[in-house]
Symmetry: C2
Subunit: 525 residues, 2 copies
Amino acid sequence: MHHSYFILITLLIFTLPGVHGGNILVVPLDGSHWVNMKVLTEELASRGHNITVMRASNSWYIKETSPHYTSITIPNEGGFDEEVFGTFVSRLLQIRREGASFWIRMSVEMEIMNQFSEMNKNVCEMMAHVFEDEQLMQSLMDAKYDVVLTDPGFGGGVLLAHRLSLPLVFNVRWTIQGEGHFAIAPSPLSYVPFPGAELTDKMSFFQRVQNILAYAFGCWQVEAIVKTHYVEFSKRYFGPEVDYFSLFQAADIWLMRNDFVFEFPRPTMPNVVYMGGFQCKPAKPLPQDLEEFVQSSGEHGVIIMSLGTLVGYLPHDIAEEIAAAFAQLPQKIIWRHTGERPKTLGNNTLLVKWMPQNDLLGHPKTRAFVAHGGTNGVQEAIYHGVPLVGLPLMFDQPDNLSRMQVRGAAKIVDIANIDRSIFLQALQEVLHEPSYRMNMQRLSRLHLDQPMKPLDLAMFWIEFVIRHKGAAHLRTESYRMPWYAYHSVDVMIVLLAAVFFILLTTVAIIRFLCCGACRRKIKSD
Amino acid sequence: MHHSYFILITLLIFTLPGVHGGNILVVPLDGSHWVNMKVLTEELASRGHNITVMRASNSWYIKETSPHYTSITIPNEGGFDEEVFGTFVSRLLQIRREGASFWIRMSVEMEIMNQFSEMNKNVCEMMAHVFEDEQLMQSLMDAKYDVVLTDPGFGGGVLLAHRLSLPLVFNVRWTIQGEGHFAIAPSPLSYVPFPGAELTDKMSFFQRVQNILAYAFGCWQVEAIVKTHYVEFSKRYFGPEVDYFSLFQAADIWLMRNDFVFEFPRPTMPNVVYMGGFQCKPAKPLPQDLEEFVQSSGEHGVIIMSLGTLVGYLPHDIAEEIAAAFAQLPQKIIWRHTGERPKTLGNNTLLVKWMPQNDLLGHPKTRAFVAHGGTNGVQEAIYHGVPLVGLPLMFDQPDNLSRMQVRGAAKIVDIANIDRSIFLQALQEVLHEPSYRMNMQRLSRLHLDQPMKPLDLAMFWIEFVIRHKGAAHLRTESYRMPWYAYHSVDVMIVLLAAVFFILLTTVAIIRFLCCGACRRKIKSD
C-alpha cells in the first residue's frame, strides 16, 4: 500500500507540467528593476526550480544570501550608485523648477546619456571580468543551466547567454534600444508614441512631426551607447561576424512588464508575452496601528502618497506646500517621507519611512494615490482601481502617468511649479469628480479579466523554454536581415529600375518609329 | 437550510465567469468554414449562450433546425453552389495537368476572381434583403444581441454588426483582404510570404521580388472586389462618410484559425487571438469493423487518405495511379473515395464514403496521412503528430502544405503529374525516413504545450467581449488614419522640405556673402 502510494506520488510529480526543477541563471538589474525580478525568482523557486543570481559586489538591492537563490558575486566598484543618483535627481528637479531653456534641457539630456553610457560601460567591464575568469566560466558551463533569465535594460545577460549557448528569456520593459517593443516589433510612428515624447496614440500633424524627431534623437543616442560598449565587446569576444543587435533580438521570449490596459495598443510579436501587473496581489490585512489610523478617517477615507525608491526626500519648500495642501483636507493621509518634518503638516497626515503600499492600495477606504508614476506603482493602482494624482519626475514616469491621464484615471501636477493651491485643487478634483474612480475601476476590471494570471503566464513561458530548449518557432527571421533587405529597399530599387528601363525603351522605340515616319513623310513631301 | 443552499447556488452561478447566457448572432460562411464555426457555436451553446445563426435558404451545410441554435433563413438563389464548384475544381485540375502557359494560368486566376466576385455580390444582395426587410430588422434589434460572431471570408457579418451597432468577433483565417493578418497587422514583405506565392519566411532576393509582385497583384484583386460590392453597399446604406475598410478593421477580437506552429512567425496585433487547432480533440474508439481493419495491418500500420469536402472524386486515371501505388505497400489503407472503384485497387485498400478522420489520425497504428492540405486536416495532423503526403489542389492548400514541408513534416506531390511510381516513392519516403514522423511529433508537442486550450481561449475572448461590450482597448487607432498619415508620408515630405529650405537658404546666404566679398574684392582691385 505504501509502495503504491509512493509510485502515485512520484507519477504525480513527474506528470505535473513544469515541476521538474529547471536550472535557471538570472542576470538582473539593480534598483527597482530587482523588485520585479525578485517576484519572478521567488515564484520560480517555489515551483521547484534551482535559481542562481549574478550580482555585483557593490549591489544596492540584490543580497548575497537568500533562501530562494544561490548567488555569484562579481567584484565591482562602479555602476549604479544610490548617492550619485540621489544628487542627480535633485539637480534635475532644480533645473525643471528654474524653467530651464531648450539648451539647458538638452545639456541635461546629454548628461543623462553620459550617466547611462557610464553604467553600460560598467556592465561590459563586469562581463569582461566574468568572461576572463576561466574558473568561473568553467563552473558556469558545468552548472548546465537550462535558460538565462535577464532584464535587458543593460545587455550583460544577453552577452552571457550567447557565450554559454543558452536559451534566453527577457523580463523587460526597457532595453538599451529604448522601450521593449521598439527593439523587436514594427512601430508605426504615426500612432505609436515614442517614449519620452509624452504623446498618445491619437496625434495631430505637429505631434507626429515631434514623435518622429524624438524617435530620430532616441535612435542616435542608442546607437552611440550600444556601438561604444556592446558592439565593441561583442567584436572582442565573439569575433567580427557576430552582430550584437542580432544577439539581442534572438531572445526566445520577451516577458513584457505591461499590457494594453496600461500601454496604447500597437503591433506586437508572437514571442512577446504580456505580464503587466504580475507583481500585484490581493491586499493583506494592515498592521493594527495603521488599520486604526485608516479606520479613523471615517466616511472620508484615506489618501496615500509615495514617490518611489529614487526620491529619498523632496526639496523642503515643496514638501511644505504638499503638507499644507493635505492639512486642508478632511481625509487622512499616509505619506512615505524620509526628509525633515514639514512645519505645515496637519494632524490628519501620518509620515512613514515605509508603507505596505499594496495592502494600502487594496484597502476599501483608500480614495486616491499620490505617486511619481513608476511602472510598479501605476500597475498596483490599476490592479486595485485607485485613481492617481501624479507628480512625475523623470524616466518613464511622465509617459506612464500621461497614459492614465488620457484615460481619465489620473491628474498630473507639475512638481516643479507646485504650490498648495494647485496641489489641493488636483487632489479635490480626483476625490470629488466620480469619473476618475470610475475610469480607474474600469481599467482594473479589464486588467483583472485575463485568461490567465500574468505571473502564471510568465511561469508557463519560462518553463516552456526549459521544456523545449528555446522557442525558436515564435521568433521571426527579421533580425538576420540587413536593414535594406528588411525594408525591401533593394527590391524596390530593382523594380523601379525595371519600370524606368521599360518606359525608356518604349519611349525610345516610339521616337524611333515616329522619326522614321517623319523622315519618310519629309522625303515623300 | 434549503434557503441558504439556494443563495449559495445563486451566488455560484453569478460569480462563475462567462456563465450568464449571452445572446450571440452568428453570421457564418458555408462549406468547410461552417465546419469550424459549428465547433464554436456548439461550445458556446453548451456554456449556456443563446445562439442565432443567419443562413441562406439554399445553404449547402448549415441546417435550418439544430438543437444548439435558432436560425434566421434569408431567401437566396445564388452564391455557393456545390455543383458549380465541383466542375470548377475538375477544370482547374485539367488545366494544371495540361501544363498550361502563363496566360492560361492568368485567365484561370481571373476566372477564380470573377467567381469570388459573384459570391461577394450575392452576399451583398442577401444583406440588402435583410436591411430592407423592416420586420426582420426590427426583430434583430428587439433580440438585443450582445455580439456578432462572423467569418469575415465574406463581409456580410461586418455590415450587419455595424447596422445593429454591436461588438464584433471574427472567426477568421481569410478575409476579403486576403490572409487575416494582412488586413490588420504590419506585414513586412521581406520575410512575410504573401499567400499563394508558396514562399517561406526565408526568401532569396528573387523570391522577395516575387513576393512583392504577388502582393501587388493580390491588392489589386481585393480592391476591385471590395470596391465593386462592399464600398458601394456601405455608401448606399451608411452614407459616404463611412469607410468600409474601417468597419472591417474595427472588429473587437480576431480569433485566428492558426498558430505559429502552423504559420511562420510574423508581426501581430493585441486583439488577434490564436486558436489554431481549436477543433481538434483526442481520438475516440473506432467503430468495430474499422478497428478490426486497422488492427489487421500489424506492425506495418495504416495510411489514411482524404481530399476534403470539395473534391468529390478524382479524375479516373489519377485514382488508378494512386490505387496502384497503394497496392504495392505492406500497409493497410483507408481511402475516402466517392468515385468509381479503381481497377488497380489492392486488397490492402478500403474505400469509404466517409471516415472518422480525427479518430483515425489519433489511432496509434496510423503512419501517414495523404491529404489535400485544407487547414482543418493539416491542423488535425499536427495535433495527432501524423506526417503528411500532400496533394494540394488550390486556394490555401499549396501554402499550408509547403509550411509543413519546409519543417520536414510533409512531402508534397504534384497531383497534376502524378503516376504510381512518383506517388509510391513519396509514400515510402514519409513512411521510412524517420525525420518526417519526428518533425511532425515535435510540431505536435509545441502545438499542445500552450497556456490554455485553443477552444477555451476562444470562449474566453467571446465572453470577454460580451462582458465588456467590446474590446476597444486592444484595437489600435491605425484604421482611422488615411494611408499617407499612417505611413507618415505627410510628415516626411514636410521634414524633407524643411531640410531643403534650410540647405537652400544656407547656400543662398553663402553665395550672397561670397559675391559681396568678390564684388568688394573686384572694386578694391
